[in-house]
């Protein structure tokens, strides 16, 4: 009898966890600017030097990956494809384990985590888990919004 109760609870927990995790995966959420951002620096801004690659004119996709991370491969393939097809979008992959200082500073808790930077390197949105193409394209549009193209 106890076993059946435990089983039912376990199944409910599983369904709940599956729904929550699936809905969070690949969802890009805005990164708020620092409270005192009247004239000072936005809270999270990465330079080309920090990420080890040039910033894109439209947006830069920064993917944090780690060794124990199966979805990282598919995410990398998707982001590389998008960066290759889209002018002004650059992509860089950062190994979380060899950049733990950056991981802590940016509050990276899972891999893959994708940060979308605007032309100045400001982190506009971020998502954890493997994203869909449409989600990434929307995030790029949001990052490049308000930037007049030359």
């Amino acid at each position: 009898m106890i076993g059946i109760v435990v089983l039912v609870v376990a199944l409910l927990v599983t369904v709940l966890a599956a729904v929550v995790i699936s809905s969070r995966n690949g969802r890009f959420t805005p990164v708020p600017a620092a409270p005192q951002s009247s004239a000072s620096e936005p809270s999270e801004r990465l330079t080309a030097e920090t990420i080890g690659a040039p910033l894109g004119e439209l947006a830069t996709l920064v993917q944090f990956s780690s060794a124990f991370c199966t979805p990282c491969r598919a995410t990398r393939a998707l982001l590389t494809d998008i960066a290759g097809r889209t002018d002004g979008v650059e992509m860089v992959e950062i190994d979380a384990e060899s950049h733990l200082d950056l991981v802590r500073e940016l509050g990276i808790m899972r891999t893959p985590t994708v940060l979308v930077l605007d032309v100045d390197g400001v982190v506009t949105t971020r998502a954890s888990g493997q994203p869909q193409r449409a989600q990434v394209m929307s995030a790029i549009s949001a990052a490049s919004a308000g930037r007049p193209t030359i």
Binding site: I4, A10, T14, A18, C69, R104
Partner: protein, 146 residues
Amino acid sequence: MPTPTQVDPRGLRVSATLTAVVLALVLVLPRDAATVLLTVQVAVFAVSVVVGLAYSPYAQFFARVVRPRIGAPEHTEDARPPRFAQVVGLIFTAGGLLALGLGATLVGYLLVAFALVAALLNASIGLCLGCEMYLTFRRIAAPRPA
């Protein structure tokens, strides 16, 4: 640096599904049958961990019965995360078996239930719980720069 061993991800999902079925049965069957079944599952995890993923009975079932019918995989995965997950599974199920043997039924069932949830999440949405915990562990465990 040599390429880490690769595995067919579909085989992992099949193994996770079989594990989930076995562990669910352990929770509902009468004590003696449940203990036997749980011992079998512990042995399966142990074979995976000690001998290798490919040698587990579930993996063998996939290789001999399923894979010939579905052809080669589109891509393969690093074998290290699933192997780590098997170690975690072994710890929980062996702990559950020990608890049941000592008469701590609820504790035993709860340990089995944790392993069941992990196997179900892996089988259903491909989530690897051990893998998710890995980065958090590294953040805490690694020394901070001076």
